[in-house]
């Protein structure tokens, strides 16, 4: 793995709902497993900062946004489907 690349992830949630908590747990788990040391996760609660929803075109909650590396990818849902998340984030080819 190339060192210089840092993965910037952003998780949009709306309050501490079960789905949000689950999504957060899931992404932390995957990141620790596949991106250890080269990732950062920013959590944005739209209940507190509703104006931020427009910037990343958020519709559904929870939404995980991969800000970097480009291009921007979005995954919506509680991230319970590991396979889909890894494909969606484009992590899968990295580990093969």
């Amino acid at each position: 793995m190339k060192k210089a690349k840092e993965w910037q992830l952003r998780l949009y949630i709306a309050g501490q709902t079960p789905k949000s908590i689950m999504a957060l747990d899931n992404i932390k788990k995957y990141a620790e497993e596949y991106l250890k040391g080269i990732y950062s996760i920013e959590i944005i609660d739209l209940m507190l900062n509703p104006q931020l929803a427009e910037g990343d075109q958020i519709l559904a909650v929870p939404t995980l946004v991969r800000k970097f590396p480009e291009p921007i990818r979005k995954i919506i849902g509680d991230l319970s489907n590991e396979e889909k998340v890894l494909v969606g984030l484009n992590i899968k080819p990295l580990i093969q």
């Binding site: 689950m22 209940m47 519709l59 909650v61 919506i76 849902g77």
Partner: protein, 564 residues
């Protein structure tokens, strides 16, 4: 009393509505969209859904001071503001005044993956935030169905939409949701299931190469509404819906008289002209000076400082002005003074209903006392006689309501009958005063005659009057009777000449007779004198004879005495 009160109270409370800000739409919805509830507007591509909803928001801000939120799933805020700028709405300004929020929601399928359960709380939060920032009363979601293309999980989507509409109702905002028309359904995704309060369908139809947009209220829970399809127009002022015929005949009438503009014609009406607010039809075959008569009428109204709109479906304003100069009419001066407006358009420019809308609009803007439409028969080329009739009914209704005097000209087909043909029959019952101009043919020439077929509420002349058009204007000639009726043209002039000749002859004859009598008297007197002379001479002779007899007798006795 108490009962009456409670009834009126319930009607007051019946249904709170939000004015739409769209011309005419409030009339057919009886006041507007249901307040605090969502309304679904659906229709095919390019039928004006986005424009209608944008107009709803902007008019709400400008006219009713109700801020709004426009959530667009298709066009970006920039595109939207450009699109409506051409209609004279300045969105940017309203945004700066914090009266309007435009939020473009981009749903890009290629960017989104779905992994597990989710909800659309993000959308709710965005919408809620926008509503709260401007304290919006009106919300537009254009077009929600884009979500179906962007997201996979239909069951979540449908559940969330249901929640969205409930949530909008709780928020108390009046919302418009637009949807594409689907096959066999009002909308492609069956949005009408969720929005059950008010559903409006827009339609864009082409028949005979003329397109007409129409609007129909499919459903309006808890309220009466017009059920027909109403044509609507998109022009530089946005959308306006064609209002309905007033079904009642309760317009106020006026007994004022307006002059016809032609001195002789005034006299044919015993009241001296037309009633104000009545409608007048001038029918006739080609070249019988219908337009000229109409122009003189318009001129007369302008002379009285009353505003006139002249709708010309055959001639351009310049052509009309030039032509009327040849009969001594200067229409240009009235245009300069702002009393006359000549509006020319081809009948085939757009559908009948749009013509009607244009007429309506101009009439509203210009506020004339008189309207001339020259000719109505041309409109038949755009629609069937029945459609023309229905349009005229609406037009006449509107004119009567505003107490506008209207003159229509109508070209009738050349035929043998003195009564006009069918196309006019269809409008005749709507017309108050009907004047016909026609060709009077005879002795190898053509003359023009005018007569009144009917004039409601006014006694009128029954004569066919010949008229001539001179560079000074229209002149109605005195009636000239011949052995076979009224004489016109050369026959009239011949008749006049003959009359003059025989008059002269009579004069001469009389003179001659006079002289003869004088002569006879002279002869008589001479005769009397001669006879008297004769008589006197006989008398004298007799007395001489008698004297000589006496002298003889005396002599005889003297002789006898001497003898003795």
């Amino acid at each position: 009393m108490a009962k009456v009160k409670s009834i009126s109270k319930t009607t007051d409370l019946s249904f709170p509505k939000t004015p739409t800000g769209v011309n005419g739409l409030d009339e057919i919805t009886n006041g507007g969209f249901p307040q605090g509830r969502p309304t679904l507007i659906c229709g095919g591509a390019g039928c004006g859904k986005t424009l209608l909803s944008m107009q709803f928001l902007i008019k709400g801000i400008l006219d009713y001071n109700e801020p709004g939120v426009f959530m667009s799933f298709e066009e970006t805020a920039k595109d939207l503001s450009l699109n409506v700028k051409s209609l004279g709405f300045d969105i940017e300004k309203l945004k700066q005044q914090k009266k309007l929020v435009i939020d473009h929601v981009r749903v890009e399928r290629s960017e989104i993956d779905e992994a597990g359960e989710y909800d659309l709380e993000g959308l709710f939060i965005r919408l809620g935030h926008a509503i709260d920032t401007v304290k919006a009363k009106r919300v537009v979601l254009d077009t929600l169905e884009s979500l179906f293309a962007g997201l996979d999980n239909q069951s979540i989507l449908r559940a969330e939409l249901r929640r969205l509409f409930r949530w909008l109702k709780e928020k108390g905002v009046t919302a418009i949701i637009t949807g594409e028309r689907g096959e066999g359904m009002l909308t492609r995704q069956g949005l009408e299931e969720y929005v059950s309060d008010c559903v409006i369908v827009l339609d864009h139809r082409v028949s005979d190469q003329v397109s007409t947009r129409r609007i129909r209220i499919v459903k309006y829970r808890g309220s009466t509404h017009g059920t027909n399809e109403y044509p609507f127009l998109i022009d530089e002022d946005g959308i306006s819906v064609l209002p309905i015929t007033s079904l009642k005949l309760d317009n106020k009438v006026s007994s004022d008289i307006v002059p016809t503009g032609i001195p002789g014609l005034n006299e044919m009406f015993y009241a001296g002209g037309f009633y104000r607010g009545s409608n007048i039809l001038i029918s006739g075959t080609a070249g019988t000076a219908k337009t000229t008569i109409a122009a003189f009428f318009a001129n007369a109204q302008c002379m009285r400082k009353e505003k006139v709109i002249y709708f010309a479906f055959e001639e351009s304003p310049d052509q009309l002005i030039r032509n009327m100069k040849s009969v001594g009419l200067n229409l240009e001066q009235h245009i300069k003074k702002g009393l006359l407006l000549i509006h020319s358009s081809r009948p085939s420019l757009n559908g009948l209903e749009l013509h009607l809308l244009t007429l309506r609009k101009l009439i509203k803007e210009f506020n004339p006392a008189t309207v001339v439409i020259d000719p109505v028969s041309n409109l038949i080329s755009v629609g069937s006689p029945q459609e023309v009739r229905s349009m005229l009914v609406r037009l006449i209704d509107m004119l009567k309501l505003n107490n506008i005097t209207a003159m229509f000209t109508s070209l009738s087909q050349q035929n043998e009958h003195i009564r006009p043909d069918l196309s006019e029959d269809s409008v005749s019952s709507l017309i108050d005063t009907w004047i016909t101009v026609r060709d009077l043919e005879g002795m190898g020439e053509r003359n023009r005659g005018v007569y009144i077929i009917k004039s409601r509420g006014m006694n009128h002349s029954n004569k066919v009057r010949e008229f001539v058009i001179t560079p000074k204007g229209i002149e109605l000639l005195d009636v000239e009777y011949g052995p076979n009726g009224i004489l016109t043209g050369a026959a009239r002039r011949t008749n006049q000449l003959n009359k003059k000749v025989s008059e002269l002859k009579l004069q001469e004859e009389l003179g001659r007779k006079d002289r003869e009598i004088t002569r006879k008297r002279n002869v008589l007197e001479a005769n009397i004198k001669a006879l008297r002379n004769e008589f006197e001479s006989v008398q004298e002779e007799l007395s001489i004879l008698r004297a000589s007899e006496e002298r003889q007798a005396k002599l005889f006795t003297d002789v006898k005495k001497k003898k003795r």
